[in-house]
Subunit: 342 residues, 2 copies
């Protein structure tokens, strides 16, 4: 039984996309789970009414599985994170995360300002010991199974020990959320040999080799779309947040470029989109911020109702599988301490 707080005001298409996503989620989830819409309650109620009179009329029976909690302030997408969370303690972001921190619900989901969500999650949920910042995880669709890539942008200057921490966080995530037993962890680098790379990745390679994780060596850029490196199929790939963010945004933009060229050449768009469906990010919904003492799910600002519903299901899964507690144990264990102090 999980109670999920959803930032109803967060995202480019809020509150229409968030309200509709919440409806889709409760319609599909076991009735034991519930969703709390956090935001300006009058607007949320009105949006709910409109959705149930219009496109989502078939879901009217699920309305009473949605709760609404009022939060009068809104953190805009472009606001500076630390200033915004100080200036707007009654924003949907802060109210929703405070409910989670105080035990009134079990997880928080937002498609709003990612930096603010990270800052507010650090303040209200707090980090596990030994971490400086949480990591943003992302799922890369590949030719084989999807691969967990982190950090995707929270940590732009990383030490080798921090990359090892990402490896531990990612391995727990791959196990709990994707069902990968003994996840294979690779290190993003610019050559397959151990001695290749920059100063940080060379050191990280040595630390990962003795980390107790199932480390399968360096991963080159070309191995990411393939889903395997020279040695193994991949479950987790670690990198600093600068390169992770650059490649993630690049990946998101390459597919539309190619689809555009194919459509321009007269190939049928529906068949193209069908063929490339496994590369579609929105299928994977949101991603948990890893390293905080709770479940804080980050969604893309452009999230559709379907993506919001997927993210709510990810939150339920994270709660059910005790993802945060497992991460805490892994970081506190003898291996975790070794990684953090190496």
């Amino acid at each position: 039984m999980a109670r999920i707080a959803l930032d109803a005001m967060g995202g480019d298409h809020a509150p229409q996309a968030t309200v509709a996503g919440a409806l889709l989620a409760v319609a599909e989830l076991d009735p034991a789970h519930s969703v709390v819409l956090v935001g300006r309650s009058a607007i949320i109620e009105q949006t709910l009414d409109e959705a149930l009179r219009g496109e989502h009329a078939a879901l009217a029976t699920f309305r009473d599985r949605l709760l609404v909690v009022d939060a009068p302030e809104i953190i805009e997408m472009a606001e500076k994170p630390s200033a915004a969370i100080r200036a707007k303690p009654n924003s949907s972001m802060m109210v929703g995360l405070r409910m989670h921190a105080e035990g009134a619900c079990d997880a928080f989901v937002s498609a709003g300002n990612t930096g603010a969500q990270m800052a507010a999650s650090m303040v209200l949920l707090r980090l596990y010991e030994g971490l400086k910042r949480p990591a943003i995880v992302t799922i890369f669709p590949t030719a084989e199974k999807p691969v967990v890539v982190l950090d995707a942008g929270a940590n732009v200057d990383c030490s080798a020990a921090e990359l090892v921490q990402f490896a531990r966080l990612g391995a727990v995530y791959a196990h709990d959320m994707l069902g990968r037993a003994n996840p294979a962890v690779g290190l993003l680098n610019i050559g397959e040999e151990a001695e290749k790379g920059n100063a940080v990745t060379k050191e990280a390679h040595a630390l990962l080799a003795q980390s107790g994780l199932h480390f399968v060596g360096n991963v080159e850029g070309r191995d990411l779309p393939a889903g395997h490196n020279h040695q193994s199929a991949l479950d987790v790939v670690v990198c600093d947040g600068f390169v992770g963010n650059a490649i993630l945004k690049f990946y998101e933009a390459v597919a539309p470029l190619m689809v555009g060229l194919l459509v321009k050449a007269g190939l049928p768009k529906d068949r193209i989109m069908g063929a490339l469906r496994q590369l579609d990010y929105s299928e994977y919904g949101g991603a948990p911020l890893l390293g905080v003492r709770g479940v804080s799910i980050i969604c893309h600002g452009r999230s559709s109702p379907r993506a919001i519903a997927s993210a709510i299901k990810v939150a339920v899964q994270a709660v059910d599988n005790h993802l945060a507690e497992h991460i805490g144990k892994r970081l506190a264990g003898p291996e975790g301490a070794a990684g953090a102090t190496a």
Copy 2:
């Protein structure tokens, strides 16, 4: 009139691909230009005979525009660069670059061991003052015009001042080789605002803003396939060699992944390949190593005869347009000195 030395033994498909590429190039180039095949002369002559008896019989009349220079040793693709160039002074790589350094020819082209080519070019051609290593340039196909991206792997730990040097090198390249007047230079980063990024890119942003270059601000990963950022169409994007190499290899692998999915879904391969032709790297041939006092063109190890021929034409263009001399002037000028010492 340019005389191009080609490493006949370099590359995954040498000497067949290099010999055939040289034939294609002289058949298409103005007769004033010539190509010197450097390598094991008996094998080269035999490969030439076979090519002219077989697939390339129509090119027989161009054989006498090819010279052959013997070099008995071969640097293999997997050899350690610095050890290989010391151990094999009579390799095709070293002999060809020495001919260029001594003025017996005007440029050198290889699809062989890239690290060895870089090391040998530094030793034999030497760097312009103020540089620690040359930069590898690569051309990213985009939805608009191709964009020059550097460094693509030679420099994995870069200072902000080095990123500014790459910007100067790339701007000269874009002007001389791609005909871009006053090239727009962007900085690969993880947000469009000046204050975003890691320690190095934040400092580089400030230096580039006062560099005298046409600096158009930060470029996010998603801007690369688009060919423009929030401010401008892009001609040059600078980044350290770690992230440049990771994204380049990622890009090279994403297209085949997508094509594979589309073909599997029953879409016609020939029409797909036709539609995506503008994304094909081999159309652009090789890329000069920037910063050495000469023309040293790096080709992909997998180069086809067509890619080798393109690279030879790139070499001719670099010689004709005085690319290396222009780079030397730009680095020695008041702007160059400012960038190097900032």
